[in-house]
């Protein structure tokens, strides 16, 4: 481990909180999706950091990191498909303007 584990964990918590801040604060739906990508990356950093530390079965961390990346890509696809459908119907992609369940 080139640098102590704690520093990487703090880095990933910071990344996680920046992502969460983006989700809570940004009005643009695509902005929210981008911040979700950030949160998933923070999770990945933790996975890889811990896989370097525990010797039980070291490849578990990296395998799950791959699964997280695949699912994040999937989430991004479905999310953007919904955004496009929303945009086509409501001509707006600002979260607070989309407040009707049925239109």
């Amino acid at each position: 481990m080139p640098i102590p584990l704690e520093h990487i964990l703090i880095f990933s918590t910071l990344l996680f909180s920046i992502g969460l801040y983006g989700v809570l604060v940004r009005r643009n739906v695509i902005g929210i999706l981008i911040s979700i990508e950030l949160i998933l990356n923070a999770v990945n950093v933790n996975l890889i950091a811990f896989s370097r530390v525990h010797t039980l079965n070291p490849e578990m961390g990296q395998v799950f990191a791959i699964f997280v990346i695949a699912l994040a890509a999937l989430a991004a696809t479905v999310g953007l498909a919904i955004v496009l459908a929303l945009y086509r119907v409501k001509q707006t992609i600002y979260a607070d303007e989309v407040n009707l369940l049925k239109w």
Binding site: E6, E37, N41, N44, I48, H54, L80
Partner: protein, 164 residues
Amino acid sequence: MLILASKLFIYAILFLSLVAALGVVMLPNLFHSALSLVATLIGIAALYLALQAEFIAVVQVLLYVGAVMTLIIFAIMLTHRIGDQTVPQKNQQSLPAFLALAAFVGMVSTLILQSNWPVSETVARVDALALGKALLGVYIFPFEIISVVLIAGLVGAVVIARKD
């Protein structure tokens, strides 16, 4: 001397990724925030390289920067009204959110610093070969399920986005 240089280098990468992550959240123009997300991803890939996880670093660059970012930028281009600064990009709850998150970060980081993590130095490096064997050996079941989920997601996305 070299170890010190590599440590400094890693800290620099971490700091730059954080700055880019802040850029993702703070930049008003959505295209600029997408580009700073690309910078964050590449910074995180560099961190993986420092942690000797090359396969994950390269897969991350390939999948995230190659595929997901292309998707996001396509979506940005297809929806207009992102460039104009007149529309406020942040809603009202920016201050309370910031305070809550600052408290959260403070709490978690003190927790991390106090607890002692069982660090074992001698860890076998997981290269692509070992990862492949694990993926198709122990984790064969989730590996197959992922492909089913990806296909379902793909079909779903096409159905939603299709202009009928």
